[in-house]
């Protein structure tokens, strides 16, 4: 029984320390959604779409995936009418690099740089998109 309670309180402690980081992260995502900043910032990703063989409009779901979560990115992907190959490429890229704010904020709790993890994920996503464009 002792084991049970110490595990329970460990969980509660973890919850409290995590929510201190999660709530601001969710707030930032919500503000970005509310001001529809997506549409402006995702224009920066349009040249990137050429590199991985996607139409320019695919920048919006990719950026939505990076800022919010995987559901946001995939929801935006459905609205685009992509073919099977493009779906696979964009799906892989979103799967590798999503939840840039909420998920990577956990890295702050481990005392490492959040930006490092964010950029490594972004670069790996672009690289694997380029490889898939050549292979598929």
């Amino acid at each position: 029984m002792n084991v049970f309670f110490s595990g329970f309180f460990n969980g509660i402690k973890m919850m409290i320390s995590l929510s201190k980081i999660l709530v601001p992260a969710i707030l930032i995502v919500k503000i970005l959604e509310y001001t529809s900043a997506y549409n402006y910032v995702s224009k920066l990703f349009v040249p990137l779409c050429d590199v991985v063989g996607l139409p320019g409009t695919a920048a919006i779901p990719f950026f939505m995936g990076i800022v919010s979560n995987i559901y946001g990115g995939l929801g935006g992907m459905l609205a685009l009418n992509l073919d099977y190959k493009e779906m696979t490429i964009l799906g892989t890229m979103i799967a590798i690099s999503h939840g840039g704010i909420i998920e990577n904020s956990i890295a702050l709790k481990a005392d490492i740089s959040m930006g490092l993890i964010f950029f490594v994920r972004l670069i790996v996503a672009i690289l694997s998109g380029m490889i898939l464009k050549l292979v598929l």
């Binding site: 969980g11 995590l18 995987i70 799967a95 898939l132």
Partner: protein, 155 residues
């Protein structure tokens, strides 16, 4: 004005939902981890996965961290990930290696089920993710080993 009211309400709702969702996952898992620790099951698992952790030059205690991340996801597995990192006192570049691996390839069960619904080739997506994760973690760890050996040579 009504828009802003709606925005505040939905934000508060999202925050509460996210935290509750985490509580549902994290509290049972941390109880399980405590029980596992008591009976020494974690040590047995980490012994078996020594080869994998050796590839990434991580200490063998880090195996449970990687498994939690890969199968549960960053958010749901964060209890185990952060707990073991604090307990074992890993070095900074080791923590970064773990986070690169887990960040690229996490919750392989849940997120790949989503892709079956959304379209695209699930097998390719899952495989590319997994190998990209292991490869980039390997490359990251290689940088530090090289620096380390260079430092030794200079001395």
């Amino acid at each position: 004005m009504e828009n802003i009211y709606f925005f505040i309400c939905s934000t508060i709702k999202d925050c509460i939902l996210q935290v509750l969702q985490l509580a549902i996952v994290i509290i049972p898992i941390s109880i399980l981890v405590e029980i596992f620790n008591r009976f020494g099951i974690i040590d047995k698992i980490s012994l078996k996965t020594e080869k994998i952790t050796k590839l990434l030059s991580l200490p063998k205690e880090a195996a449970i961290t990687c498994f939690a991340g890969i199968f549960l996801g960053i958010l749901s597995g964060s209890g185990i990930i952060l707990g073991t990192i604090k307990e074992k006192g890993l070095e900074k570049h080791e923590v970064e290696t773990i986070f690169i691996l887990v960040g690229i390839c996490h919750s392989i069960i849940e997120e790949n089920i989503i892709f079956i619904g959304f379209g695209g080739n699930v097998l390719i997506i899952a495989l590319v993710r997994f190998f990209a994760g292991v490869l980039s973690a390997y490359v990251w760890q290689l940088i530090f080993i090289k620096n380390h050996s260079l430092l030794l040579v200079k001395k």
